[in-house]
């Protein structure tokens, strides 16, 4: 009897998974290290780029003239001058781009979620938006060139740049509107319908305000992306070292174009201007990213 109880209490054999074999353990460690290393590998170029920019671009920026003057009349060896002309160009071009692409993109988003759900047209549109988001920026520029300059016979201008930026911005706006409208709870719509509110008023007064902050954040992030585009600028507008407020006439500078053009002045002063403009551009983009992050934190979409 006594031995039997002991037999029952004693496990038949030692548990199978008490310890891992050294081989499996080693593989696990190697994998963990490699994956963490991959992340480090990605951080290195980011820090390296930012460090280079700050080290080389900070000194021109600390000059008071940097924010209030242009490069007008500077000789290749002259230091000094400022980025004001490019700042004006970048802000104007991006603003007009937003003015066109935001209403258009938001209404495409509304169509996809509120009206055309699962219809053939909606599926085609979604596919085309996907294609548009993969459109190389130089092709967007070429298309606007073929349309605006070759076909309509108009001149190169800042506005043509804005039009090409619209093509690049549109998919961003559509995508974010779609996502944000999707997470608006149906109960809100039902409540509105139950009160006899027509569909369009429900969208304008209930659905859009609920998702507004999310859409806004996405739009601002899209703007930041579009701001750094250089390729369409090269073919759609001439570079000017003077200040030009007119989007429809004459060459117009912008930050990316200034960086690209200043590279060709292979003097010390030229490099100084180039890195200054580059750091200004990145700071502007970071600032806008920061604003977007704050906005989304402040007005997070209220779902149930």
């Amino acid at each position: 009897m006594r031995t039997d109880t002991a037999d029952i209490e004693r496990p038949a054999k030692t548990p199978a998974f008490q310890q891992l074999s050294p081989g499996r353990k080693a593989k696990n460690h190697i994998a963990t290290t490699l994956f963490a290393l991959a992340f480090v590998v990605a951080v290195i170029p980011l820090l390296w780029v930012l460090f280079t920019l700050v080290r080389r671009g900070l000194s021109p920026m600390l000059n008071a003239d940097w924010w209030t003057h242009s490069f007008y009349g500077l000789l290749p060896n002259d230091f000094g001058g400022g980025i004001y002309h490019a700042l004006v160009g970048t802000l104007e071009q991006t603003f007009v781009c937003a003015l066109i692409s935001v209403p258009l993109g938001v209404s495409v988003g509304i169509f996809l979620i509120e009206y055309g759900r699962n219809s053939r047209l909606a599926r085609t549109t979604t596919f085309m938006v996907d294609i548009l988001s993969g459109l190389p920026s130089i092709v967007a520029g070429l298309f606007i060139y073929a349309l605006w300059i070759t076909t309509f016979g108009l001149d190169r201008s800042g506005f043509a740049v804005s039009l090409s930026l619209v093509l690049l911005m549109l998919p961003v706006v559509v995508r974010v509107t779609e996502t944000m409208l999707m997470i608006v709870p149906d109960e809100l719509r039902e409540a509105s319908y139950a009160l006899g509110v027509p569909k369009w008023k429900t969208i304008v007064k209930v659905v859009l305000p609920t998702s507004l902050s999310g859409i806004l954040t996405g739009i601002i992030l899209g703007l930041a992306r579009v701001m750094g585009e250089t390729a369409p600028l090269l073919i759609l507008v001439g570079y000017s070292r003077a200040i030009n407020f007119n989007l429809f006439d004459g060459p117009m500078a912008s930050l990316p174009l200034t960086v690209y053009t200043a590279r060709k002045t292979s003097t010390e002063a030229g490099e100084y201007r180039m890195w200054g403009a580059a750091l200004t551009l990145v700071l502007l983009i970071m600032l806008i990213n920061l604003i977007a992050t704050l906005l989304s934190k402040l007005f997070a979409v209220k779902t149930k």
Binding site: L20, M128, A224
Partner: protein, 353 residues
């Protein structure tokens, strides 16, 4: 999740289906409506506002579809006259002489080589790193850190390409020069590492360009891969853990098979981006008139950088047409790559959940 919810049960707004006239207020409760509210006999209410709004929204949807069609059409129309005037074979020639509109000779074979070589090299470098980051962020990193870490990787996408170009040409190229020379001297017997049309130590070659492109497409691939890896069903992960799998075995047996096709789709998206990248490559690659030696130490121009370089001679329709022809080839190839990417991505994960 939200998709299935939304597509099934969607309330009908009053204006669309028609409101039943509800006059029950004066009738005694017991005689409450005998006919159900939404009978077909009810008059359909159509509101002007609804009609306008619906057509506006639908119209903008149609507009987007038209834009893509217009891009293809316009590029084609503008390219045809130049292609007819072309004295070289467009597909097989490596020439690019477009300055004189009466004597056009251009072909894409060299452009295609530089484009494909730099993009594929970038993809080879970026894919394993992006996969590693995505696995690290979704499976290994602590919850609290995963978000800020992901944000850091996304920041890579916020840096404009012209700045990557400057960094690549002026900062990175001198640093990696020894690596390029070492590869060229020691592994030169492998064709792709052989001598290019510029010296291996010049830095302004496909080798540098590919590394910079890899950095640029890293956030794109990582973003897609993170999304699919995070969707791995928990039951599978827990099942593997319950069987005594180590973390690596969990990843190998559940997360990776589940997310593999999504990861490949994301990589294709990255490839599409790399094919069309313009300014970074314009800045990094030096332009030579010598044809490529089919090595990663070649210099030259990609489709996109050739167009950007040529912007100075955009002064007559035929010359522009030649560049537009190159742009059309680029458009078609990115269209195909992107469509393939979306197809792979959308067919992944389905039926496995």
């Amino acid at each position: 999740m939200s998709e299935s919810r939304n597509s099934e049960r969607r309330p009908d707004p009053p204006g669309e289906v028609g409101d039943a006239p509800v006059n029950t207020t004066e009738a005694p409760v017991l005689e409450a409506p005998v006919t159900p509210p939404n009978t077909p006999t009810d008059k359909k209410v159509v509101r002007i506002g609804d009609r306008i709004f619906r057509s506006l929204a639908t119209g903008s949807g149609v507009f987007v579809v038209t834009i893509i069609a217009a891009i293809g059409l316009f590029l084609l129309i503008r390219a045809i006259p130049a292609l007819q005037a072309n004295e070289a074979n467009f597909l097989l020639s490596g020439k690019w002489e477009t300055g004189d509109p009466d004597d056009l000779a251009f072909g894409i074979v060299d452009l295609a080589w530089i484009t494909v070589a730099s993009s594929i090299f970038a993809l080879v470098l970026a894919m394993p790193v992006a996969g590693g980051i995505a696995l690290f962020l979704t499976q290994y990193a602590p919850r609290v850190l995963a978000r800020p870490f992901g944000y850091i990787v996304d920041l890579l996408a916020a840096v404009p390409s012209v700045i990557y170009g400057l960094w690549g040409a002026l900062v990175l190229a001198p640093v990696i020069k020894p690596v390029a020379v070492w590869l060229n001297t020691n592994l030169g017997w492998i064709p792709v590492f052989g001598d290019g049309n510029v010296p291996a130590d010049s830095g302004s070659n496909v080798f540098t360009a590919g590394i910079v492109l890899a950095v640029m497409i890293l956030p794109i691939i990582t973003g897609v891969a993170r999304e699919v890896f995070a969707r791995t069903p928990n039951a599978q992960i827990e099942g593997a853990l319950a069987l005594g799998a180590t973390k690596w075995e969990v990843v190998r047996t559940t997360v990776w098979p589940f997310g593999r096709s999504g990861f490949v789709g994301g990589s294709m998206l990255g490839l599409g981006r790399a094919l069309g990248e313009t300014v970074a490559l314009t800045v990094i690659l030096s332009y030579t008139y010598e044809g490529p030696h089919y090595s990663i130490f070649d210099a030259g121009a990609t489709f996109a950088s050739r167009i950007a370089l040529g912007s100075a001679e955009f002064n007559n329709n035929l010359t522009v047409g030649a560049y537009i022809a190159a742009g059309l080839v680029l458009f078609i190839s990115t269209f195909a790559v992107n469509a393939l990417a979306r197809w792979i991505e959308s067919s992944s994960g389905k039926g496995k959940e």
